[in-house]
């Protein structure tokens, strides 16, 4: 039999778990969670990356690996997202022959090192990259002058092809990416606070499994 008046007995003065204490505990936990969320938010880099749903399968013959119908993953350092002219990076792979000035990828004015990366997910032998710069539809001086193309994945991962003093609005570059699963285009803006503009990127090549047959 326990003594209610003994130290530690049933009559001891134990702290009660009141509604107020429960709420305070919940608020404390929520605050901790929010703090962790804030740290994650602060570390976010506003990079856009999305995978388009595939409408078609990659054919075995040479084709534009970047075309949106094959479901590429498109990533970009930024895009000009002002309300009335959203220059989304997906427009760079839409394969559209008659785009309006809106339907192009344009980097954010604050982005000093814009890049666009296309990943098609399966190894391929890439031989040509065709770019439709701003000069294709707009003033010639808006065409990107200096940029580089970098193979992503495969035996030539990181191999880069630099272009200087470009003036051509539509230009094809011969590259050699062996087993690449993607390609990165890095463009240097033509001047301070200038944005880079690109209407289309076409990455031509053959899937590796097709060459193995």
């Amino acid at each position: 039999m326990s003594d209610a008046f003994a130290p530690g007995g049933p009559g001891r003065d134990v702290p009660r778990l009141s509604i107020g204490r429960c709420l305070a505990l919940c608020a404390g936990a929520a605050l901790l969670l929010w703090g962790a969320g804030l740290l994650t938010f602060l570390r976010a880099r506003a990079v856009v990356s999305f995978t388009l749903p595939a409408r078609d399968q990659h054919p075995v013959e040479r084709h534009n690996l970047a075309l949106f119908t094959y479901g590429p993953t498109v990533s970009a350092s930024s895009y000009d997202h002002w309300l009335d002219h959203q220059h989304h990076p997906a427009f760079a792979v839409d394969g559209f022959e008659h785009p309006s000035p809106i339907e192009k990828w344009a980097s954010s004015p604050g982005d000093r090192a814009p890049w666009l990366e296309i990943a098609w997910g399966r190894p391929a032998l890439v031989d040509t990259v065709r770019l439709r710069h701003a000069g294709w539809k707009e003033a010639p001086q808006l065409t990107a002058e200096r940029y580089s193309l970098t193979c992503v994945g495969g035996a030539t991962d990181g191999r880069s092809f630099s272009v200087e003093h470009n003036v051509e609005p539509v230009v094809s570059h011969t590259v050699a990416c062996d087993g690449a699963t993607g390609l990165r285009l890095s463009i240097w803006p033509n001047g301070p606070r200038k944005v880079v503009r690109l209407y289309e990127i076409e990455v031509w090549g053959i899937p590796v499994e097709a060459t193995a047959r």
Binding site: I19, L33, W34, G35, A36, G37, L38, T40, F41, L42, A44, A46, V47, V48, S49, F50, L52, P53, R55, F68, T69, A76, S78, Y79, H81, W82, L83, D84, Q86, H88, A90, F91, D94, G95, F96, H98, P99, S100, I102, E103
Partner: protein, 473 residues
């Protein structure tokens, strides 16, 4: 020190808190009309930082917004993601629900406000332990259920936290004014912190912080004034530092706000209303109630003038501004309620006879119920589950489709931007010139002409609710 008077059981307060929470959750569930700025100003920029997509408004382009509230939302959006909440509309609704919960704190502010005003009117000294609980209880009850406050609770707008901070600041000053001791100075310090926070969160509410300053000056409470100023420095420096980190200039958003809104007057580009517009809106919402509340509050004007000056001054000041929106004056209601509840509570507190008190309590409860019904009638005039809500639901439905590669959206400004669209594919304002682009395989149309144009371009209707149509090709 005098003896403590009988106070209501904490159970009554918990019951009121539960009632306040239920009322706000119900209001959120019924989906009152949304102001586009709830999404465009305070949520979509956070979406852009987290997902890289968004619609940048001219305010953010000009840099007139602070990142503090948007960052606060951004952190909760991350937490919502951890909890498995899908991106887009569900995350936005999570944020709204969060504010519904947070705004339940109005109950505590109502309690403290009614108590502080009641104490001033009853002439209780700082060391008098008796709570002016009659005003406090009335305040808590009305703040729990008063419909204009309930409906404006679950909003991701700066008005909600700003108003809560500013009203609390004045309530703390009311509590501190008769107490120049340590407790009074601590209250004044916190009043400064909250008052400055309220202004920094919503710069247009800046004149409201003048009222506690004038009150302290008029009473010659120099120490309290110093504490108030010291407290106010903290949030000002914090907001300035955040601006420095985000806009590359200390107080960058504040300076840009002053230039754009006050010097260039560009807010007027978004609509100009007449000088009596706010009075008409307040009359629509709870005109009769406002008259009753004003009459009661004026009866104790010696103690309530700072609250009355804040409520009326806000309406007068904002009426001088060309661009008007009802949400700007939402602080009118809490200031008025604090003053009226404090006065009514003081009347009750002065009646020692139990029979008289009981009768007065029944009368007060009836008046409070009638005021709430009047407010309910007013908020029912707002649009509920409106066209914009339908557009955002349509965006959410499109976002759930696995084949979406691009969306064209009619009635752009009523929609929910990327905050309501959980996909990162292109989403543009509908234009017939965009229809040929094969990347756009969904259209949300708000007009029959749009439906016809889209159908000519190969789209087919997959869903129509009222006047909103979703098409796919």
């Amino acid at each position: 020190m005098t003896r403590a008077s009988q106070v209501p059981s904490p159970r009554i307060l918990w019951a009121l808190a539960a009632l306040a929470l239920v009322a706000r959750v119900v209001a959120w569930w019924l989906r009152p009309e949304l102001h586009p700025d709830e999404l465009f100003q305070y949520v979509d920029p956070a979406v852009h930082r987290l997902r890289g997509v968004g619609w940048q408004t001219w305010e953010w382009h000009e840099g007139i917004r602070s990142w503090v509230l948007t960052g606060y939302h951004g952190a909760w959006m991350v937490v919502a993601g951890w909890m498995g909440t899908p991106r887009g509309l569900p995350t936005f609704l999570f944020l709204q629900l969060h504010w519904a919960v947070v705004s339940t704190a109005w109950l505590v502010i109502g309690w403290a406000g009614g108590e502080a005003v009641g104490r001033l009117l009853l002439g209780r000294a700082a060391d008098d332990d008796r709570t002016a609980w009659e005003g406090a209880l009335l305040g808590a009850a009305l703040f729990a259920i008063y419909p204009p406050l309930v409906v404006y609770g679950a909003r991701t707008l700066s008005e909600v936290p700003s108003s809560m901070c500013l009203v609390t600041s004045l309530v703390l000053v009311a509590g501190a004014i008769g107490d120049s001791g340590t407790r009074g100075r601590a209250r004044a310090l916190w009043a400064g912190v909250l008052g400055a926070s309220g202004v920094c969160l919503r710069l247009a509410s800046g004149p409201l912080v003048l009222v506690p300053l004038i009150w302290l000056l008029a009473r010659r409470r120099w120490r309290l004034l110093a504490s108030f100023g010291l407290g106010g420095l903290c949030p000002v420096l914090l907001f300035g530092a955040v601006d420095w980190a985000t806009w590359n200039r200390p107080f960058g958003s504040f300076l840009a706000y002053v230039r754009v809104n006050l010097v260039e007057g560009r807010a007027a580009e978004f609509g100009v209303e007449g000088p009596l517009w706010y009075v008409e809106r307040l009359w629509d919402r709870a005109g009769l109630g406002a008259v009753v509340l004003l009459a009661v509050a004026c009866a104790g004007w010696r103690a309530t003038w700072p609250f009355l000056a804040s409520a009326v001054g806000l309406v007068v000041y904002l009426s001088t501004q060309a661009h008007k929106e009802e949400r700007f004056v939402m602080s009118f209601w809490p200031y008025l309620l604090v003053a009226a509840c404090g006065v009514a509570g003081a009347w009750l507190g002065r009646r020692p006879q139990p029979e008289v008190r009981r009768t007065l309590w029944i009368g007060s409860a009836l008046v409070a119920a009638l005021l709430s019904l009047d407010g309910l009638r007013g908020v029912m005039r707002l649009s509920w589950n409106d066209h914009g809500t339908l557009l955002r639901d349509a965006q959410s439905l499109v976002a759930r489709q696995t084949d979406v590669t691009g969306l064209l959206l009619d009635e752009f400004y009523d929609s929910g931007a990327y905050a309501a669209f959980g996909r990162d594919v292109p989403m543009l304002r509908y234009g017939v010139e965009c229809l040929p682009n094969p990347i756009f395989n969904y259209v949300i149309a708000g007009h029959d002409s749009t439906v016809e144009e889209a159908e000519r371009a190969g789209f087919r209707t997959i869903r129509r609710v009222r006047d909103v149509t979703i098409l796919r090709r």
